[in-house]
């Protein structure tokens, strides 16, 4: 009995000194903290409505762009190439819809939160004015993204279906479909890739930006 107590006491002292040593060290390594942070985040949330806990599982882009510094150049280039390869081009080469519908979508910042009933694209807005100036008539615009005023005009798009406009039109579609194709850690959502907008909605937003008749290009 006494011997057992002694052993227990010795073990306790050893354990305490081990803890003490750990306390004197510089603390957990950066990699250990990374793992602890992921575990903390995974255990800190629950599913609510359409906002499922699976949303916490990061894809390659999200994982590479989750630090206070960008990923290495080579990794960023590889992610951009993958993103560009993921772009689904519009059926029948039909890139533009109705700019009036595009303006409505650009104004609409709703969708995909746990208080939204549906996560179908038709329930979502395109969020554009949250971060961009677009039509100058709208003074309530955000500044996280660049101004898109005169977007098509500045790129010389007089006829969106003229081959001379193809590069600007295709770039814009790809940027909307998967913004990470041109900047791996872009702040902009991947509207096509993540199923936030359907093709028809994408065409309407395209028209707002590129249709020479859109108020954006006056």
């Amino acid at each position: 009995m006494n011997r057992n107590l002694l052993i227990t006491a010795v073990m306790a002292v050893l354990a305490a000194s081990a803890l003490g040593l750990a306390g004197c060290a510089t603390g957990p390594s950066s990699a250990e903290l990374d793992a602890q942070a992921v575990a903390m985040i995974r255990s800190g949330f629950r599913t609510e409505g359409i906002a499922k806990v699976e949303r916490l599982v990061q894809d390659a882009v999200q994982q590479a762009c989750s630090a206070d510094h960008p990923p290495p150049e080579a990794q960023a280039k590889a992610l951009e190439a993958q993103a560009l390869a993921s772009v689904r081009w519009p059926a029948g080469g039909q890139y533009l819809g109705d700019w009036r519908e595009g303006e409505k979508l650009a104004q609409n910042g709703r969708g995909m939160t746990w208080t939204d009933a549906s996560d179908r694209p038709t329930a979502n807005g395109a969020q554009c004015y949250n971060c961009h100036q677009i039509d100058k008539a709208e003074i309530s615009y955000g500044t996280i993204g660049p101004s898109l005023w005169n977007y098509g005009k500045l790129r010389g798009v007089k006829d969106p279906y003229d081959p001379a406009s193809a590069a600007a039109v295709q770039y814009t579609w790809a940027k909307l479909w998967n913004s990470k194709a041109f900047n791996a850690c872009s702040n902009m959502p991947r509207f096509g890739h993540m199923g936030l907008l359907n093709e028809e909605q994408m065409r309407h937003v395209m028209a707002l930006l590129l249709d020479p008749k859109s108020p954006v290009n006056q």
Binding site: S43, G44, E48, R55, S66, D68, T113, S140, I144
Partner: protein, 267 residues
Amino acid sequence: MTRLLALGLAAVLAVLPGIAAAQKSAADGIAEYRKMLEDGNPAELFEAKGEELWKTRRGPKNATLEACDLGLGPGVVKGAWVQLPRWFDDTQKVQDVESRLVTCMATLQGFDAAKLVATPFGRGEMANITALATWISGESRGKRFALPQGHAEERRMYELGKRAFFYRGGPMDFSCASCHGEAGKRIRLQDLPDLRSNPGDGIGFAAWPAYRVSNGQMWSMQLRLNDCYRQQRFPYPGFIADVTVALGVYMGVNAKGAESIAPAIKR
């Protein structure tokens, strides 16, 4: 309450023509509107309720919260807010004000901690926790943030909070940093504080809890973070989950030296 709301409405109506006529910047207009509302900030009602709750015998143990230790010793409220979240020996945890209130309501008053944590915002005892947090914050009005970082766990929580701040996920790839990781940005007309460093006196972490005029609700920091995550399109953060406390440590330490204006008033 009715009188306060009427005052608020009058202030809104008074300031609107001012904006149109003078073509002031949106931020100037909003600042002026806030200034006018300050005379009748309904947060005062929640402060009064919180103070009353602190001093009233309640719960299964019929006790007050006056022996609650918010980090500066039992019953010391003044100055406690600007040093939270911090390490607590008794719980062996880093806690924010709301987490600490749950601890005190459970240990001193005998409330069931799990039931408190599961109560929705604005209801029952959760509304009381919000009022208590509002009063506690007001007792540090004008003081400057100075979170302790002496304990290894406080430093670890800062590092975890920083990682949570930059963690991108969800259908829109957002992290806290998407909106709060750059200076001088805004969403629509709403100015966004850059929370990677001290954004200034009474801005960001130093402006909550706050009364929201737009929805007539008193918002604690936990509810502020909850709605950030909603708009980030993340799943639902648990009330006082470690991730929320870690973010509090990250923002609070970064806000070192910022003057607290809490409880504030917001659009």
